[in-house]
Assembly symmetry: C2
Homo-oligomer: 246 residues x 2
């Protein structure tokens, strides 16, 4: 378990990458794209990338990381923090979505025609469903132990999948925005193009570090003996049920 000493470095690295992504998005939209407003103009559009990177990438990633960072707190406290960070991500990404729909309506641009919009909306809808299911299954006592243990690996798989899809949707958005704004000069390696490409790579790096920390075997939370006993008991029971069923 010597590898566990490296965990804080990975977590610190993820935070540096995450903050860098939010700051670079802010600078790109604030400095190169004319700043922010809420009036249906292109400046209202600029709220969209900032909210999505902050909400569906950075806060989402941190919500996933809490299970590795808070290793000795009770599972219930960590679950509540996980749900709260995801709720912040949800609210901020709704603001980001309203911004782009508002801008499209004002500028009489069709909604939802691009691959970016298809992937982004799919990610958002699945994220919202996953958040509701997470609340119902794990935070409130509505689901049976059997249902919880069936859903847990799916929740973990879809959790990482949706972070990946968030990062991918951001990269599609970066490509779209660059081709709409600087198609003529993009191929001359201008400052804005290089900055936005760098943002894309940093978003990938953030996703990779979070994914690595969450999937690495020796970074897992130490099993709780009480929970273990319960799960073995439950397993015996459910296997008994399966064996005795016709």
């Amino acid at each position: 378990m010597g590898g566990l000493r490296t965990l804080p470095w990975y977590v610190a690295g993820s935070q540096v990458l995450g903050v860098a992504c939010v700051v670079i998005t802010g600078v790109w939209m604030g400095h190169y794209r004319g700043g922010y407003a809420w009036d249906g103009s292109a400046q209202e559009f600029n709220v969209h990338p900032l909210c999505m990177v902050l909400g569906l990438v950075f806060l989402y990633g941190d919500a996933v990381l809490v299970y590795r960072v808070f290793r000795n707190e009770t599972k219930r406290s960590v679950k509540i923090l996980h749900a709260l960070l995801h709720m912040m991500a949800l609210i901020i990404s709704i603001v980001g979505l309203v911004a782009v729909f508002d801008f499209h309506s004002s500028a009489k641009i069709s909604h939802m025609y691009s691959l970016h919009s298809w992937c982004g909306m799919l990610t958002f809808v699945l994220f919202f469903i996953q958040w509701l299911l997470g609340l119902g299954f794990f935070l409130f006592p509505w689901a049976s132990a059997q249902l919880r243990s069936w859903y847990l690996p799916l929740h973990v798989f879809f959790g990482l999948l949706l972070l990946t899809m968030s990062v991918g949707s951001c990269l599609l958005g970066i490509t779209e925005k660059l081709l709409f704004s600087i198609m003529e000069t993009y191929s001359r390696f201008t400052g804005e193009g290089v900055l936005a490409n760098t943002l894309g790579l940093l978003l990938v790096c953030f996703g990779v570090v979070v994914g690595y920390v969450v999937t690495r075997e020796d970074f897992r939370r130490p099993p709780n003996p009480e929970e273990e006993a319960l799960s073995v008991h439950f397993k015996t029971l459910s296997e008994g049920e399966i064996l005795s069923s016709p």
Copy 2:
């Protein structure tokens, strides 16, 4: 282990999705973008998407799946098949890269300026390194057992990461190609735009099914008792070494 009976359905689903992606890419480039050639023209460019989807997505995904499909063959045979499929993926993706570089040179377009090219080239270079390391560590007897057991989880992590990055790079390429070719009509939900967006979603689905099959616990290969014994013996030895080191 009842879930294992569903494995063939997931594998079949992945193959339907993978073939659909290759066919749709072929139809998009063949029907909507004027077909194929090798003369520096836009038709030479059309070879690029087809090769990348066939090589770095479909064959790459299948190379990853062999460990779940061939469960009872010797590990050595499966390793050789894994390496051969990856070699085919490598050769086909090199053809695809030559096609786009050739086209850019003929058309006097800068190389490597877009986020798609940055992500795609990073994916290809890491894939090539991973393939060489895989050969050296696992297929030829060049690495010690200690080195192998250190590299294995990294090989698995980067394997799935690079499939994800391949799919992501394809989606960036789809967005670029659509905005370069049909920027004016894309927002009117024309046939080409909807077909290419659908291709993007199918590529995501292929990656998701492969990722799910490979990461699902009860789909893993049954452990080989001989390999187990060796690994326990090795663990005792290496832990002994660590304990006795200063």
